[in-house]
């Protein structure tokens, strides 16, 4: 009995010192002041950013959340967060990793629910939608006053993240598309390796020579004609002189002769059995399973595949995409954007400023997973995989085209892909595929 009482009073004393009324008042006052400051901030309050250089943003401990989707880049992000912590000891960055498949639904619900990350990754497809709806803080002022050196970034990338003349994001990295191939399979078939001078005819001939059948089943495909716009048929369209959408992003142009011819070229690989069928690609992803496993000889792919491919099989090499009427490679890069509902906009903008700096970009290059967007910093990435000629991807920037995106959302691309998939699995007569795809994309663009 007496033991209990003694422990009880000890515990009470400890509790009293912890929750000292004075400390409690002080902490809550600081918290309220912090919230008040942030509330006053509203949209990009650059004056506050500039004024609070030492003990940045009020000086008290701030944690901001940073939404990302690629676990392979987490080490690089953490390295950037550590370097930022040395610059501004009172701001802590908390990365929030949501895998790609769930990232967009999670982002939508978190923005609607008022609990989105303070800073997060955004891609070209979604920039117009989020910017048009006022979910992003414009960082035009950071560009205007020189906190961010916009000219250090390729113009085609900067334009992706400019909406109605205002800059909403600074490109973080970029990726282009090239042709990966499996040296071993070429050796086994006695076919010469692809070169940078290849044309569409060379590609077709090699695909035919490299497709191996065992009776009725195909044991090896020459090429993967993938069902993706960015890594697959979008490049063929541009290489043939066609375009995917018009400049105003209000109409699809895949029905025009040049674009349609390209789509038929891509579809013919599947129809003639040189590429895994739609059904097969549905069952096994060509990028994740079939190509690394050595069942496909060639695949057009983005630079982000380089590391995983080289680790899966050192015999995988890369050359530029073949030339059609001209050279073309889709360029894309994601950007860091700030959420309008963030309670820590000052700190968020500081983080974005840092991420746009040469130091942060250099960290990206050194880890080798993505190509830093800032001009001149690509050498680290190029040298990161000794066995592979990654310079190909950097050279592709010269003939790259940005992926089109519409403020109406990415539905047009889904509808376009849906029609192509339907057509390439035999559900639509081949000569109607282009027209129907065009129709479906137009309908989605005008539905808004």
């Amino acid at each position: 009995m007496s033991n209990h009482r003694r422990m009880g009073s000890e515990a009470l004393t400890t509790l009293k010192t912890l929750v000292n009324r004075r400390t409690l008042l002080r902490r809550s006052a600081a918290g309220a002041a912090g919230l008040g400051l942030a509330a006053l901030g509203g949209h990009a309050d650059v004056d506050r950013v500039q004024a609070a250089q030492d003990g940045v943003c009020g000086g008290e401990e701030i944690t901001i959340t940073y939404g990302i989707w690629d676990s392979a880049q987490l080490p690089a992000v953490e390295a950037q967060a550590a370097a930022f912590k040395e610059l501004h000891p009172n701001i802590t960055i908390e990365p929030q990793l949501v895998p790609w498949d769930d990232y967009w639904t999670k982002l939508q619900t978190s923005v609607a629910g008022g609990a989105a990350a303070d800073v997060f990754w955004l891609n070209a497809d979604n920039l117009p939608v989020y910017a048009a709806q006022g979910a992003l803080v414009p960082i035009q002022s950071l560009v205007d006053d020189g906190s961010v050196d916009a000219d250090a970034y390729p113009e085609s990338l900067r334009n992706i993240y400019t909406f109605e003349g205002t800059v909403y994001g600074i490109p973080r990295d970029f990726d282009t598309i090239a042709l990966f191939y499996n040296k071993d399979l070429f050796d086994a078939a006695g076919v010469e390796y692809p070169t940078g001078d290849w044309t569409w005819d060379n590609l077709r001939a090699a695909a035919e020579a490299l497709t191996v059948k065992d009776g009725d089943t195909t044991t090896q495909w020459g090429i993967a004609s993938t069902l993706e716009l960015q890594q697959g048929y979008g490049n063929f369209i541009e290489q043939n002189g066609g375009h995917i959408l018009n400049d105003e992003k209000t109409e699809a142009l895949v029905d025009e002769p040049a674009a349609c011819e390209a789509l038929q070229f891509a579809g013919a690989f599947i129809a003639d059995g040189l590429s895994p069928s739609v059904a097969e690609q549905q069952a096994n992803d060509p990028y994740e399973a079939l190509f690394p496993a050595g069942v496909i000889a060639m695949i057009p792919g983005g630079s982000w595949n380089a590391l995983t491919f080289s680790q899966a099989n050192p015999a995988i090499q890369v050359v530029p995409l073949p030339t059609g009427e001209k050279r073309a490679s889709a360029i894309h890069g994601l950007a860091n954007v700030v959420w309008t509902g963030s309670q820590q906009q000052c700190a968020a903008l500081e983080w974005v400023k840092y991420l746009a700096s040469a130091d942060a970009e250099r960290i990206l290059g050194e880890t080798g997973t993505v190509i830093p967007a800032m001009e001149g910093l690509q050498e680290d990435w190029v040298g990161s995989i000794p066995g592979m000629d990654l310079q190909v991807f950097i050279d592709a920037v010269d003939y790259s085209f940005p992926l089109p995106a519409s403020p109406a959302g990415p539905e047009w691309e889904t509808k376009l892909g849906e029609t192509l998939i339907e057509g390439w699995s035999g559900g639509i007569p081949p000569d109607e595929i282009c027209a129907r795809a065009d129709e479906a994309a137009d309908a989605a663009l005008s539905a808004g």
Partner: protein, 309 residues
């Protein structure tokens, strides 16, 4: 009805006509259901009413909802994609419910008889019910692989056609129904078993004495006395079939599209992929109406064919 009863309870409670013991018990009753009712009120009732309001808006999730009245409902009538989803769901529900009940009843009868390793079989058939739907869908997706999967390999060896299962509407329907049956029959079987074991043995013995064969016994004793169980399982099976989502999401997606969308998948697509949450909620309400209609119809009809002991 319930509200009137509640009002009556409260009036009786307030007046002194209720003894203190009864009063204490009533208080305890309400206190014990209060947590659940609170959760129900917040997460279900409130959400229901709010969603009805949202279905009358155009909401792209990022900006505040904008009132459009019944435009969404009108739009639904001309929506081809919705009609496709509706057709797919109906095409899936009919065979799934019919086959599921038949198979599970057959299994239950078989496992109610004195065969060896009965308990083992019962466990075996019930295991799919306990497995995560996504795991089931992933494995079956590999089984259905047109080039490397064992199903097509077996069909090939037997000289039968090897369809591209999940890519075409017809074969995707068959494929999905097979997986639904495989994963759901165990549950129905267990419920039927309970129903079967509730039938007194004396009825069968009496029938046997009167000279009725096994088939006659089944038709005139087993089936009628199982009708309460059958009724329950039919209602559940229809509701579950109309709401199929996870199998569709995992198995029939290719690229960014779905080869066999069902209504719930369409709701997900419109709301989360196409930024049309208001419209998605409208579709959800229409689905609710459909399920409600079916269930009410069945409850109405049960007076005709269900014999409660």
């Amino acid at each position: 009805m319930a509200v009137a009863q509640l009002a009556k309870d409260v009036r009786a409670f307030r007046s002194a006509r209720v003894g203190s013991r009864t009063r204490a018990q009533t208080l305890w009753g309400y206190a014990l259901i209060a947590p659940m009712m609170a959760g129900f009120a917040v997460f279900f009732l409130f959400a229901l009413v709010a969603s009805l309001a949202l279905s009358l808006t155009d909401w792209d999730v990022l900006a505040p909802p904008q009132w459009v009245g019944v435009d969404n409902y009108a739009r639904l009538l001309h929506d081809d994609a919705f009609m496709t989803a509706l057709r797919n769901t109906a095409a899936l529900t009919i065979p799934n419910v019919a086959l599921r009940l038949t198979l599970s009843l057959a299994l239950a009868i078989a496992l109610n008889s004195r065969i060896r390793f009965r308990a083992f079989y019962r466990t075996l058939f019930f295991i799919p019910v306990l497995t995560m739907p996504v795991a089931i869908a992933t494995i079956w997706k590999w089984l259905y692989d047109p080039t490397f999967g064992p199903i097509n390999a077996a069909l090939g060896r037997l000289g039968l056609p090897q369809p591209e299962w999940l890519t075409h509407q017809g074969s995707a329907l068959i494929a999905v129904v097979i997986v639904l049956l495989w994963s759901g029959v165990g549950y129905d079987m267990v419920i039927f078993l309970a129903g079967l074991q509730n039938i007194p043995r004396e009825y069968y013995e009496a029938a046997q004495i009167d000279g009725a064969g096994a088939l006659r016994q089944f038709r005139d004793i087993t089936l009628p006395l199982l009708t309460p169980t059958t009724f329950f399982l039919t209602v559940i099976a229809i509701i579950n079939s109309l709401q199929v989502f996870d199998l569709i999401f995992v198995m029939t997606e290719v690229g960014n599209t779905n080869r066999f969308p069902t209504i719930v998948y369409y709701i997900f697509e419109e709301g989360f992929k196409n930024f049309r949450m208001g419209y998605a909620i409208t579709v959800a309400w229409v689905l609710l109406m459909i399920i409600l209609a079916f269930t009410l119809l069945q409850f109405r009809l049960q007076r005709r064919w269900v014999h409660y002991a």
